[in-house]
């Protein structure tokens, strides 16, 4: 069984969550249950998709500019704000007060946002203009039936 220490316990803020393994060392009499050592929990999608629960938000993509990155109109984006945006990340950027999803290009101190669809132009900030990155897209969820 895995148990995470409660958030009230002091943990160095540079450290990842502490995980302690509780070993079962009980001595039992009688016929042992074949399931005794498994002690597993059913797999949970959020375990796979969400690394930083406090920093994770879901957004919905709207439009065609990212189809070559596998992001289609209506897909759900898993966005993690705890990750430092780097070159090549798919990011949520703030553009004219709205959210946009694009690929971040960061070379020689210059930043631009690229679409993953040749029919869309890339977004290059003008002099003195800054692009704000709101979060990094870590996964997409594509529902085939809903």
């Amino acid at each position: 069984m895995i148990s995470t220490l409660s958030p009230q316990k002091p943990v160095l803020i540079s450290d990842a969550p502490l995980v302690a393994l509780l070993l079962k060392n009980r001595v039992c009499a009688g016929f042992p249950s074949p399931a005794e050592d498994l002690g597993a929990q059913r797999i949970d999608l959020t375990q796979l998709l969400v690394t930083h629960p406090q920093a994770t938000y879901f957004l919905r993509a709207s439009g065609q500019s990212m189809i070559e990155a596998g992001i289609f109109d209506g897909d759900i984006l898993v966005v993690d704000r705890a990750i430092k945006p780097r070159h090549g990340h798919i990011v949520i950027a703030i553009l004219d007060g709205d959210f946009t999803v694009k690929q971040l290009h960061q070379r020689q101190g210059r930043i631009k946002l690229k679409a993953a669809n040749p029919t869309f132009a890339e977004i290059v900030p003008k002099d003195g203009q800054t692009i704000e990155i709101w979060g990094v897209v870590t996964a997409t969820i594509k529902q085939l039936l809903s």
Partner: protein, 432 residues
């Protein structure tokens, strides 16, 4: 040592996480039928909008200054609060959530530079969740509160305090002259627990700054004012008097009151509203493991309208203390029937559960009357479980009516933002 983590303009900040276009624009959040401002962005504060100001009085600023008003979206604020609190807990050992946007953390025995650590946590809350906050640190809760005020003011109004105290302020790290000048620059109404009345009384005695207050003799303060002010003075002097509250004690009363979206005249509609309020109260009651001895019901017209006014309240004692929805709704409805008069435009109704006691202590009595009936605890537990699993209002008392949000008395919330983090159909959209 205590740290107080307090979010800046919390409701407005929550809205701005998902509406970046609201940054730099005056924003107010309205509550209670879009009636009054319950949160203001800095820009809105700078326009002179006061806390609790009725919306109709500041509505003109929307045209002239681009003021944006939003209905309170408590589902969103609750989720964001939860995220903030769990990150704030990383600051120290124990946390006490004081309100939706602030919590105390005990920071005794934390190694290293506490101020640097607090700055890191603050930056993390801003980066991860998107909410700016201030952190105040001090040897007592009152000093931590004061430190928080300093941290926020130093950031919002440059020049009010030394600039290095902005965002995070540790009063215990200041030299005595520094601490004195901070206290001399702070008016007493900023002190936790000193309200308008007390401020006036103290001012009349010539005490206007925190420095003057902290220099008073506690014994004299107790003799001349009260034990409560004495406690505040001692706390300011560094003696901890307000305990850390690990498990908040169960509420002594539970209230569910609401203003209606539209005037209500019919008893049938009031019945629905009162049933709903009483049911919600009963759920809260069971959650904290209490039973109510009395049920209070009130109805009233709007004092803001020029109609004939009517306001009545009645308290119905229960035969036996109970947490049973049917018993509480029954008492509330019989109370309502007793006070209802036709011909008025009712604007507000409410149910209060009083005389609460623990459900583990039950008084038994000689059985002179009809049987108490079978134990309905399991029925109530099932009711709560169904409503928890399938959503509030899945199973309800028939007298609550079935029209849901289309009920005549439902709240008016015309400017509510989507449930960005609580409803799949309402998550924010990113343009691709």
């Amino acid at each position: 040592m205590y740290a107080l983590v307090d979010c800046n303009n919390f409701y407005a900040s929550c809205e701005r996480v998902f509406r970046p276009s609201l940054r730099g624009i005056p924003v107010v959040v309205l509550s209670n039928n879009d009636g009054a401002c319950v949160a203001r962005s800095d820009e809105a504060k700078n326009l002179g909008i006061k806390m609790g100001e009725p919306w109709f009085k500041v509505r003109h600023l929307a045209e002239s200054h681009g003021l944006v008003a939003l209905s309170a979206n408590f589902a969103l604020y609750g989720d964001i609060s939860d995220r903030v609190m769990s990150l704030a807990a990383g600051l120290g050992v124990k946390t006490e959530i004081y309100s939706i946007d602030e919590c105390f953390v005990t920071v005794d025995g934390i190694p290293g530079d506490l101020v640097a650590r607090a700055h890191k946590i603050r930056a993390r809350i801003l980066q991860w969740v998107g909410i700016p906050c201030g952190i105040g640190i001090g040897p007592t809760k009152t000093l931590a509160k004061l430190a928080n005020h300093v941290a926020k003011s130093a950031e919002r109004k440059p020049g009010s305090y030394p600039v290095h105290l902005a965002q995070v302020c540790d009063l215990s790290g200041l030299t005595p002259p520094e601490l004195e000048s901070v206290m001399a620059a702070t008016e007493i109404n900023e002190v936790w627990g000193i309200g308008r009345q007390l401020t006036k009384q103290l001012n009349e005695s010539g005490i206007t700054t925190v420095l003057e207050l902290v220099r008073l003799d506690p014994a004299m303060v107790r003799a001349r004012w009260s034990v409560i002010l004495e406690r505040t003075v001692r706390e300011l002097q560094g003696t901890s008097c307000i305990a850390f509250d690990d498990a908040p004690s169960p509420k002594q009363e539970i209230a569910c009151t609401r203003s209606f979206g539209h005037p209500v005249t019919e008893l049938r509609e009031l019945n629905e509203a009162v049933t709903e309020f009483a049911s919600r109260g009963a759920v809260k009651l069971r959650k904290q493991g209490s039973q109510a001895g009395q049920v209070m019901v009130f109805i009233r017209t709007s004092p803001f309208r020029k109609d004939t006014q009517y306001s009545r309240c009645i308290t119905v004692p229960l035969r036996r203390p109970s947490a049973d929805t049917a018993a509480i709704v029954g008492a509330a409805l019989s109370g309502l029937r007793a006070i209802y008069k036709p011909g008025f435009k009712y604007a507000k109704a409410g149910v209060m559960l009083l005389d609460l006691q623990s459900d583990t202590v039950q008084q038994t009595e000689l059985d002179f009357e009809e049987d108490a009936g079978p134990d309905r605890g399991r029925l109530m537990a099932s009711l709560d479980e169904l409503n928890h699993r399938y959503g509030r209002g899945t199973v309800l008392m028939a007298s609550a009516g079935l029209a849901g949000d289309r009920r005549v008395w439902s709240m008016k919330q015309e400017r509510r933002t989507p449930g960005y983090t609580t409803c799949w159909a309402e998550i924010p959209v990113a343009r691709a």
